[in-house]
Point group: C2
Chain length 365, copies 2
């Protein structure tokens, strides 16, 4: 467990007059306890962290994960629930004199809250929904975390470059995606941080394309969006290029997307408003006449999760803070034609930002 | 979309005097609409199905997925929400005269329900939590689905056998896991249905072991739990064996687990109570003195999701019905020694069951 982070959460609980908090969101659980297990789905937790406002945290899990939990969550009381989480809490909460219990409302199913409420009602415990407490802490990285993120980005670029050099007409999207994911693991990544996107030609018009057995032909656009997990930290990068000689329309649109990306990068600094950064890129794409073909937000935070706070979206009024790590990924998508997206990661600094990427494939034509 | 399934849900809505239902659970959405997109996480939906009690369903999604949705969800009205799901619903629900709206309480975040409630309160719509309606339909497969599940199992076994024949001392858990996942994709699977488990020696004592760089030595136990997705349908199989010559303790424990598995298989039939099937296996393991080392339930349903209804757990009082497809996976796990789990899939029939597996590796010693 991370004592300093635990103490920050405990101080926040004390300020809110809460006796404890249940941490169910897997990256939050990892961030505070060191326990790295992943949930198969939200309906099947690998364990729950019960963090009292004072004293030792408890990591509650089942027999499938007990050995891993004991090994990784040093400093936590690891307890096995044999008959389910709620019967276990029904015993434990009164022992710890917990009366007001916070839970992560944004990572707790509605039906689970109803089930838990029956139990807490029976023992006189009040449930308090809480949202984003640990996420706000996680959004700002310290230098150790930034170093790990850089390592993740560096390995991701190495994997990209190795596979990029083998790409040639005749290969399929699936084949390239597979080669990328295989190379990630062979070079020591825990795995991809999301399902790798490889899209040729008109498939690149789908921002979340799923690789198919479509065959690459000379002149096709190739869009690759890939990331990996290394020592728990995620990377995320998109490159777009053409197999063979690009046409002038492609180069024109590429320059617009790149210009939008650079404008956003210039707008990033401690104190900048998220939606202003999005707007810096969006204005350039709109002025070039492609506003309606850039349908998604500009970027998102990256850390233990590949999508986390902050959100660089047209609707986000929050401020960037030094130490936040974000993607900058403008795009243009035309259904009959294809798409271009360029994505780098940056750490927010005082007065500016630092780009984590070194790879320049397809950026500088 | 699947008209017959849609009509069954609509009839259920009419009986409950509900005007419509929001389908958010990805496998349910797929089952009803044909739309195969996966959600990156529960916090980032790839789309929501709004199914009125009468008339055409609506598939609501964002710009990232709109092309895929239009292609796959033929028969649904596909609509793009530009400003988010709730603003879109605020316009659409009154147009469709929807007053009582059901939602999937077991796949809706507590905080999302609170956000949605503000919107529905403002337009006089009542939210009704509903749980398991589509899951109960999905649990019973028709013969077309059983055929697809058999294909998935067959391919999974082929992958296992190909890699099994290459396993030798000196290989690592990660290497074998990677070879399995690569072979799955090369032979046409969409991907693994869950993170492949390969565990040697004492690592096999963790039912949800994560593959490491541990090196296989002669005499080690090897536990492999693997599954794949083919045409949307999942498989799930576990084999345990020894690299080299097994010791007598191993063979003794293996026979107990296998005997437990066969006892459970003999108990499966239309009308059997889930926990009685679990008990058939558990009794044999307990009588042999290993009761406390079999900590998980006996099995689970498999279909579009790798874990779905029914649950063959000691607490489930529901009845098996013909057409359900379940895993039977008893195990013994001893922290200092290792573990043995054997897992096959079976379809429940009148008076018995049909085992979907043909592979017998490690089962018959």
């Amino acid at each position: 467990m991370n004592r300093q982070r635990i103490q920050l959460v405990q101080a926040a609980l004390q300020r809110r007059k809460l006796d404890a908090m249940l941490i169910t969101q897997p990256a939050n659980r990892h961030y505070l306890s060191g326990y790295t297990a992943v949930d198969h789905s939200i309906q099947e937790t690998a364990g729950v962290l019960l963090l009292p406002a004072k004293g030792k945290p408890f990591l509650l899990t089942d027999s499938r994960f007990i050995l891993q939990a004991e090994e990784e969550a040093a400093g936590c009381e690891v307890e096995l629930y044999r008959k389910g989480l709620y019967p276990h809490l029904k015993q434990l909460l009164p022992q710890l004199s917990i009366h007001r219990l916070a839970f992560e409302s944004h990572y707790f199913l509605h039906s689970s809250v109803m089930t838990m409420e029956k139990m807490t009602d029976a023992i006189g415990v009040t449930l308090v929904p809480l949202t984003g407490l640990v996420e706000r802490m996680r959004a700002v990285k310290n230098e150790d975390e930034i170093r790990l993120l850089k390592q993740s980005v560096r390995l991701n670029e190495r994997v990209f470059q190795l596979v990029y050099n083998t790409i040639e007409p005749g290969m399929t999207e699936l084949e390239i995606a597979l080669a990328l994911e295989l190379t990630m693991r062979e070079l020591g990544a825990e795995g991809p941080s999301f399902d790798t996107i490889v899209a040729f030609g008109t498939n690149a018009a789908r921002p979340h394309a799923v690789p198919t057995d479509r065959v690459l032909r000379s002149g096709d656009i190739v869009l690759i969006d890939m990331g990996l997990v290394l020592h728990g930290y995620c990377s995320d990068m998109t490159r777009t290029f053409v197999a063979g000689k690009p046409r002038s329309t492609y180069l024109e649109r590429l320059r617009i997307v790149r210009k939008a990306q650079l404008a956003a990068i210039a707008a990033i600094k401690d104190g900048a408003i998220c939606r202003d950064v999005d707007q810096a890129a969006r204005t350039i794409i709109s002025n070039a006449g492609y506003g309606e073909f850039f349908g998604h937000g500009l970027g998102h935070g990256v850390g233990l999760a590949v999508h986390e706070d902050p959100s660089l979206s047209p609707r986000c009024r929050k401020k960037l803070r030094a130490g936040m790590v974000v993607t900058i990924e403008p795009g243009i998508y035309l259904p009959e034609w294809g798409g271009i997206r360029l994505e780098n990661m940056a750490v927010v600094r005082q007065g500016g930002c630092e780009i984590l990427n070194k790879d320049t494939t397809g950026l500088d034509r």
